[in-house]
Amino acid sequence: MALGALYAKAAVGAVLPGRGKTLPDGEIVREGVAVDLGHLADYARVCGFGLGDILPPTYPHVLAFGLQLELMAARAFPLPLPGLVHVANAITTHRAVRVGEALDLRVRAERFAAHPKGAQVDLVAAVSVAGEPVWDGRSTYLARGASAPTGLAGTLPDLSDVDGPAAAVWRVPKDTGRRYAAVSGDVNPIHLNPLAAKAFGFPRAIAHGMWTAARAFAALQGRVPDAARYEVLFRRPLLLPSTVELVTAHPGASWTLTVRAGAGTTHLTATVT
């Protein structure tokens, strides 16, 4: 099913009775996924990566995103898809993943639990090549005001902002949400259209968190080993258009990144270790 249609289905499902109370069991699996060079090139251009043989660390996330959505749009999924907020994301690259490798994708949901502000759930994706784990991703979503069993919610990474001068200034154009939606399949209307964003309480359309994260990691091209862990905490939505600053620090072998709008407004904090 096209991702747009999944969104529509989820939107209708959100107002219908019969939603599950617990996470559906099992996982969604896609085997032998081949990277489409044209798609990779589009993704790389939108996010600021070069086009090379090694996939950007955030790219498998978009390969798995459709499966995540399929899981979340299902009637049995306990949280309504519209209104889910991506609050944190962690990616581990176990080794360089190359163009031309046949990727096996597995996606499941876990850690569905109560949160002071609602309910939180993790969507977990794993990529392997011929049985060898090469990439893991964990996306943490929050449903404000929703309820959940009182189990243990996943803890968010404890990341602190980097202060100091900007390493780069980004002028983020108005159509960034539409461009990233086209390459990621994440066609959540809050990224596409100011009116839709207003309906969810944002003054303007907002950038995808994973776009901001990808753009920040792209700034480290050539500086990070093939095997690394990327953790992101999404703080405040990045309204479109915006001019924001990337601040980087490189203590020891690790990197700390902050995307800020100047005076104290942090959009994203990330580490690479």
Partner: protein, 439 residues
């Protein structure tokens, strides 16, 4: 470890890395010059264990270049695994770019100004720098400079629908309006280069390149890119019979001999060589494949030179190496026969053959090259032994890096000897060089 002032040391060719060359609008259609150059640099860094190293300099260029790529090579360094403190600059001498870059780096090494460096180039004929229409560009420039609303309005009135047609890079010489192929066809005709000889050279190029891949010659020279592991233009089953069926595309009428088979196709690709002092190589436990001995450039007046009344007509656009090589040989006290390998860039098969004919022609050699005896023939078994541009393709600025790394590897395999490189370039220029096997 800088040597004493004014002393000159040897510049070593330590190795090279390139990506497979791809026919234009094919496998690399979505890759930019920066993408390819960065990937090639990272491949070189991985191959020689240079991650995090500060090298003396990286020098490269591209012939077809977007204006945003003004600092192409430095940007590639910043995106690579080399230390960001490695300086870089761009050079551009049409098809001579890669070899000219290697000359620049090796000269600095010889003078002790740097201990190591990377040289080469990249080109894409797919991701071409299409620009706005020239008339439109002039209006936009004037609009930016206009000071009053009236002046702007007047300029806007000059806009015409036809100005939407963009400027597309031309493969033609600005001063003659002829394409490179048309120029080469004139030279082929003047030197009486036969269709059969051209097809023979083209078939040999394909067969040699395919055989070199098969025996693993390129294992240490090529890193796969975007799913390509070999140059996708190579046709191992190429033969004179098959090539003979093609219709000529350059030159006109009866005497036309140049086909798509004996001309290089438009290609995308990138190639780099690693150069250094012998000491630097030893410190890094890297082998020295060959030494970069000397180089010469030459240029000919292909626009007005010679002339209708001249016995030899005008100098051909791609014949400058004919002049560069005798000067290089004289300076080094060598004859044309003192080489074990000849790498003559196959812009067109006819270019190679016309060059060889010119060196064998006593009258031409005397009148045009000032030589009492011609340079004479070469042993054709030593020519482009691992294939050349007809088979591999020719991403303009990448060709020099491809040839230097391949020749150095070939000399290293043999363990002794000397090789000659000859590359013709647009604008009537030629770049030639001598490599010697390291002892």
């Amino acid at each position: 470890m800088a040597p004493k002032k004014s002393s000159v040391r040897q510049a070593a060719v330590i190795g090279g890395n390139r990506i497979p060359f791809a026919r234009a609008n094919g496998r690399y259609a979505r890759a930019s010059n920066l993408d390819m150059l960065t990937a090639t640099l990272d491949g070189l860094v991985a191959r020689y264990g240079l991650a995090g190293e500060r090298l003396g300099e990286v020098v490269a260029g591209a012939v077809l270049k977007h204006s945003r790529d003004f600092n192409l090579t430095r940007e590639a360094v910043l995106g690579s695994r080399l230390a960001a403190s490695t300086p870089a600059y761009d050079v551009q001498q049409a098809c001579g770019t890669g070899l000219e870059a290697a000359i620049a780096v090796s000269n600095k090494i010889k003078l002790g100004q740097i201990d190591s460096g990377v040289a080469g180039g990249v080109d894409t004929a797919s991701d071409a720098p299409i620009a706005v229409n020239e008339d439109l560009r002039r209006i936009l420039v004037a609009l930016g400079a206009a000071r009053s609303a009236g002046a702007r309005l007047k300029l806007l009135g000059k806009l015409r629908p036809g100005q939407i047609v963009p400027e597309i890079p031309q493969n033609s010489e600005p001063r003659t309006g002829l394409s490179m192929g048309e120029h080469a066809a004139i030279t082929a005709k003047e030197w009486g280069v036969s269709r059969e000889a051209q097809d023979e050279l083209a078939a040999a190029s394909h067969q040699h390149l395919a055989a070199a891949y098969d025996r693993g010659f390129f294992d240490d020279l090529v890193t796969p890119y975007l799913g390509l592991t070999r140059d996708d233009n190579v046709r191992p089953d190429s033969s004179v019979e098959k090539l003979a069926r093609l219709t000529p595309v350059f030159g006109k009428g009866e005497g036309a001999t140049m086909t798509a088979g004996n001309s290089t196709p438009l290609t995308d690709g990138s190639a780099l060589v690693l150069l250094g002092s012998d000491e630097w190589a030893a410190e890094h436990r890297l082998p020295v494949l060959a030494h970069f001995v000397d180089a010469e450039t030459a240029a000919v007046d292909y626009v007005h030179g010679g002339g209708a009344d001249d016995r030899y007509g005008r100098d051909g656009l791609l014949t400058a190496p004919v002049h560069a090589v005798p000067r290089l040989l004289a300076r080094n006290g060598l004859t044309l026969q003192d080489f074990d390998f000849y790498e003559i860039h196959e812009a067109f098969a006819s270019t190679v053959l016309a060059t060889l004919k010119a060196w064998e022609d006593p009258a031409f050699s005397k009148e045009r090259l000032g030589l009492d005896t011609p340079l004479g023939p070469i042993d054709r078994a030593k020519l482009n032994v691992n294939g050349s541009s007809l088979a591999a393709g020719h991403p303009f600025a990448a060709t020099g890096g491809r040839i230097v790394a391949s020749l150095a590897t070939q000399l290293h395999e043999k363990g002794s000897g000397r090789g000659l490189i000859s590359i013709c370039a647009a604008g009537g220029q030629g770049v030639v060089a001598i490599l010697e096997a390291a002892e």
